[in-house]
Structure formats: C-alpha cells, structure tokens
Symmetry: C2
Subunit: 419 residues, 2 copies
C-alpha cells in the first residue's frame, strides 16, 4: 500500500477487538449474505486482484524469489474463480455460533446452559499464499470472529487487494469493516509485536515453517496453536499385507510431498524388510524419491544414502525419505516418540493387537490404520473448511474446522437464586 | 524433605513425561482402585500428615506468616477425612478417557473416530492449600494424566507427606509412581523454569494471585490456562425485581468474600438507584462491607468512600465493594468490558430484552441472570470436581472438570486406502 500511511500493529489489533463485540452477535443470515457478497466481489474484481498480484510477482522476481515461490504466489482467473467458490462453500456450512452444547436444570431450579460463542479476535501468520487470505477471512466471518492477517510481505499487494475487496463487500452487507485487518506492517519484528497483543487477540495461529511456529509458540503471550509441522511416519508391521503397504507408502510419500501430511519416514519391521524394502524403495526411487536409510536398509537397498539423526528429525516437504528397519513394534513406537511431531502416524498391519497398541501408544493428532497419512485433512474429514492442522493437545487437535474457532460461555438462569 | 537431595525441575518433569505414556493406557478399573487406595492411605496416615503439617505451621509462624495464612495452611483430622472422601467421589465419576466423541464413515469406506485421550502431563502452580495437592493428584490420575505439582514452599512438608502417601498407594495399585511429582524446588525462580518445560508438559494451570497468573500466562512456553481472577459485577437493571436484587447482591458480596466468584462491584441503573441503593448499601455496610462509590452513590449513601479507577480494576477478595450508578444497560456493559476479568457477571432484571442483550454482549465465562455470581463453580455445576475456573476462551472456559483435563485424537481406519 503506497497511498496511505502505515498503521501500527496495535492500532489494527485494537480496531479488530473493537469490532469483535458487534461481530459476535451478527445473525447467521447477515454473515452468510456477507460471505456470498464477498464471493461475488472477488469474481467481479479479478482484474484488480491480478494486477496487484502481478506487482507482487515483479517485486518477487526483482528480489530473487525462487521460481517455486513465485509459482505459489501467482494467481490467475481460474484460481480466483475457485477461491470465490470456496467462500460460497463456507457460507453453506452450518453456523456453529449460538449452538447450545449442553444444558441442564439443577435441583434448586437453576437452569445452566453451555452455548457456543466466537473466540473474539483471531490472528493468523502465514506464508505467501494469497488464497489463505480469503480462507481465513471467510472462516473468521462465518464463526463471528474478527481477524488480523499477517501475510508475507512478498504477497502484500495481492493480500491487500483481496482483503480490500472482501472487506468492502462485507461492510455493505452489515459486517463491521474493522473486523477484517490485514497488517500493514509485515516486518519480521512485527510478528513479535503481534503475538504479544493479548489485550486484543484471543488466538494466534502461525502457519509456515517450523522456525516460525516455534518462535511464535515460545514467545506469544496470546494463546497460540502449534500447527502443521508433520514429520509423519508409516510403520509397516511384520503382519502387514504388503500388497496394501506398497501403494500406501508410495502414496504417503509422493502424492503431494510439499504438504504436512505427507510421510517423511518409513519404519519397517525386520521380519518383512527383506521381502518388502528392495521393491518398495526401488519404486520410490523410480518416482524420484531420494532414500536415506539405516545400515540394514543400505544392505537391502544399496542405492540409498546413509541416514543421519538430523534426517530423522527433518520434515523434508520434498522427495526425500528416511528409512529405518526396526526389530519390533515397540522399536517403531520408540522411534516415533523420539522423532515424531504429533501430526499423523500410520501403521500397516493385519494384526489387531499390534494395531490397538499403535493406536494407544502413538501420541499424534491422527493415527491411521492401513490408510495413507495424506488423509489427515479438514476437507477429507468432511469439515468443509480448514484453518490448519493443530499438533498440540490443548484447545484443538488435528484439522481445525469451524468449531475449533469458537469458545463457549455458561448461561445460568435463576429467579433470585442465592447460595 | 530434608533426607534426600533436591531433584531438579527438569528431572521431575521428565520423569512425569516418561510415566505419562503408561498412564494414558491404564484401565478405568486400575485408576479407580488406585484412587480408592489413595483415600484409604490418607485416612491411615493422618498422624504422619498432621505432623508434617505441624512443621509447616511452626515454620510459618517463625517466618511471620499471617494468622489468616496459617489458618488456611492448617490441617486437622476432620479436614483429612473430608479430603479422603473427596478422592472417593472423584473415583466414582465417569472415566472420560477412551470415550468416542464422534465417529463416522466416509463414502470411500474410511472410518474416522474422535476419541478422548489424556493431555499427557499437567502442571499446577498453587498457593499454600494442601487440599489442592490431593485434588490435583486425584483429578490427574482419574484422567490418565501425569502431574507436576508446584506447591507453596510454606506448605512443602504437608504437600510432601500427602503426595508421598498417595504416590505409594498408587504405585501398589499399578499406577507408575513417577506420574506424581511434587517439585522439590519451590523457589520463585523455579516457576519460570517450570513454565518453559514444553518438552515435557502439556498444560500448566496457575492458581493464586493475579500477579502469578499474569506472569505465568505471559512467560510460559507450555500452554497455560488463565484461572480464577474474578472481578465480578452484579448489574441491577431498571427493570429489576428489587426484592430479588437485595439478597442477591448481599449474597454475591458477603457469602464468601475471599473466593473468585464473589462480586466486587455493583452497577445500578440510575432509575432505581434512589429506591435501591440506600437500603442495599446500608445492609452491606451492616454486614461489614466497605462501600466505595461513584459521585451519585455518595449522594445517595453518604457513608461511602469515593471510588477510584483502581478500585474498579480490583478483585478485593475481601469485604469491599465498588459501586457505580449507570445511565443505561449499555453503560453497564461498557463498564464490564473495561474492568471485568471475564469470569462471572450477573444481571438482575425482569426485562427479557435487557437480559438477552446482557447475555449476548458480556464476554465472560459465566453470565448469570437473576442468580448470584457465587454459582459459578464446578461443584455447583455438577461436575463433581474442579481444577480451577478458566477465564480465557481457548481450550476450556469456566469451571474445569474432568473433560477439560483431556484432549482427543483422530483414529482413521482403512483397508489400504490411498489418495
């Protein structure tokens, strides 16, 4: 934004906070109408949005952004139409706000109910993906929350165009415009300021690399949700059906290697390693995956490179796979406990006891049995939308849909009751 | 404890973490048997516990602890019997762990279920109330969580005796003893170390003064729950039934002034101030309450002292009450928004519209309608137990019972499913 002076992070957070009270009481109708109008507005303003995006692209190229990142940043008419449709899909979801979660009458006549309410103000810190701007605004408005967006500086023009278009449509539909705040300040230091705005923010969700997420979780005074780092394992048990295991491992690794629910590590029981590994690793290798294996793996598949401890800790998000032969299910559990990121862990086995032990002892948001790790996803789970995947245990775990963006309050009705 | 060397906070947190995996898979039977055995062990060891308590009392008197604090610290046989019974009551509650919260089958045949699991390791930081040691251990074991207790140094001997007795009984019943850790290090700096043990702890709950709670919430890298600060208001609307309002205000203020759900502030609509205030404030004054009022209050009740802005912010936890005459419901809402602590807010009114507006706009864990703020309590709500009252909106809000000490995981079962 070049025409107005930069607002401070505090000003923008405070504005969002001020709007949140009104937002929390908007009717479902007003919120849904606003969302449908926002979708239309995106469609009607595609040229403006793409122009802004083009400025980001040019800046990115000038600043030496990698081709992969420029590709991720790039919008086109088709993507914009898809994004507008996703806003309409969010409008069509059930409004969670106002739902009575439970209610009861006490013997003394007091009526107690627990009713779902918005969190208040949500902030999201994210990488250069302008579609996240649209998703986050839509999910926030749907759940009656104000939102403070801290997008990447390299996507600022695109984010600005999108949020301006959406805010303008929302305002006309009766949603307070201040509820949608795209931070002008996209400096690195700004993140540290943002995550300490506990007077105004109720939740901060960092999305992006492990470094950012750890920095936010460790330094935030605003409640934060750890998201998305997925150092996911597939464990092929001695009692696995290897005909199921082969396509499953390949799918978990290669279907979309850049996302958090892809597998980064294969653990295999020693009893089936000789039968399974050479064939499986050859297939992965043929698909372009670089194999980094333990000594036993190297013996069975000589083209592999030697794995390091750091490899075991790494979420590659790329065509690399660490491989370890384990002597037992317990060995696999121990490895996952040491190196896993509590995201998604899969077992391939036909043995009911082994499966139950894996389910009980693996400490992860999702435990998958004879299914690819790729299934941990709000869309796949049928949530209709996703604000990220939580890898912590408080507030929300796993894919976060609409209910995970809410809180509740107790309403206690009496007739002059005293204790 | 003087006979063993002091273990470090890290060692004790790590021990709890190591025990948490085994603890999470204990059967309901084992956990309940352990709780019943712990209750018996408390009853059978009352002399030992009271001796330890006597050492704390003597140290406290030597160190100049106030009479009120010494009284709070003091245990006796009757209290111990009551505490043992409360452990049995917790044993009798339904085990939340393993409960399937929801489950469904996807069109592709994948079966997804959401199952309640323990959080892992919970830590609680609390004041010199030895009964909290017993409550916290019992609630943790019941919910399959390991617990790290950071009690007050002035209650160390009592806490040590209680936790030793309970741990020993738990171990005999098949619960890993390391799951129950009373920190040897009760230094003030130790709190700062404890709240950064995010490698081992899943949740920290600070209980005590506002200063401690804010320090923990601001500095913790472990997810923390803000508890207990209750700057609670009673708003007497212009359409209040004043015959209900009078006992309600008196109850909210004087029933148990030292606890968080007591009222600290009275807001009254100007239309009924002249009728209601003199009588109400006289009654409160007769009950020993010091009134600190706004100018209009002073005019109607001259014995009051002039209120300060700081008074409005203060959780007195004592026989003081700030009083403000407001010109409208909105004035009351604005005041609560500025000064409230999101705990419990009450309205006295017969006007359905005013009541609904109060419910909608007050941002608090509990909104009470024609009922005393004193009703916000896990026991009163029928939770059977309470680990504190959350005043934040993420994870848990309001009284925290057993479910609030749990998380969940998704279990996804396929038959070789790939995307």
């Amino acid at each position: 934004m070049t025409t107005t002076s930069q607002r401070s992070i505090k000003t923008q957070c405070k504005d969002a906070y001020e709007a949140s009270s009104e937002l929390s009481t908007l009717s479902t109708q007003v919120k849904n109408d606003a969302l449908l109008d926002m979708a239309d507005a995106i469609r009607n303003n595609i040229p403006t949005i793409l122009e802004a995006n083009q400025r980001d692209i040019e800046n990115g190229i000038q600043n030496g952004l990698s081709t992969a990142l420029v590709d991720r940043l790039k919008l086109n008419e088709e993507r914009m139409m898809g994004v507008a449709t996703s806003v309409e899909e969010i409008a069509a979801l059930k409004d969670p706000i106002g739902e009575t979660l439970t209610g009861w009458k006490q013997p003394n006549g007091l009526e107690i109910s627990k009713v779902r309410v918005p969190l208040g103000v949500i902030s999201i810190i994210y990488e250069a993906r302008p579609n996240v701007t649209v998703d986050a605004i839509s999910l926030a408005i749907k759940t009656g929350n104000a939102i403070v967006l801290r997008g990447s500086s390299s996507a600022y023009e695109s984010n600005k165009a999108l949020s301006d278009v959406m805010r303008s449509a929302a305002e006309k539909a009766g949603v307070p415009g201040k509820a949608i705040q795209l931070l002008d300040d996209t400096s690195r230091e700004g993140v540290q300021t943002l995550i300490k705005m506990d007077d105004y923010l109720n939740l901060v969700i960092p999305r992006g690399g492990a470094g950012l997420i750890q920095s936010v979780v460790k330094n935030a005074t605003v409640p934060a949700i750890e998201t998305g780092v997925g150092n996911c394992h597939v464990y092929v048990d001695k009692d696995a059906d290897l005909e199921k295991a082969l396509p499953l491992v390949i799918n978990a690794k290669t279907h979309r290697p850049s996302v958090c629910n892809s597998a980064e590590s294969l653990l295999i029981h020693q009893d089936v390693a000789e039968t399974f590994l050479p064939q499986c690793l050859q297939a992965l290798s043929d698909a372009g995956v670089e194999i980094r294996g333990c000594e036993k793996t190297l013996a069975l598949f000589p083209p592999a490179k030697a794995v390091t401890d750091e490899d075991y800790y790494t979420e590659f998000l790329d065509l690399f796979l660490s491989v370890k032969v384990v002597s037992s299910l317990d060995g696999a559990l121990e490895h996952i406990k040491t190196y896993g990121s509590h995201h998604s862990e899969a077992i391939v086995s036909e043995n009911v006891t082994s499966i139950q032990s894996f389910i009980d002892h693996v400490d992860a948001a999702a435990v998958l049995v004879n299914a690819s790790t790729r299934f941990t996803d709000g869309g796949v789970f049928g949530f209709g939308a996703e604000m990220g995947i939580s890898t912590q245990k408080t507030h929300a775990r796993g894919p976060m849909g609409l209910p995970e963006l809410t809180s509740y309050k107790y309403i206690v009705k009496g007739d002059g009751h005293i204790r």
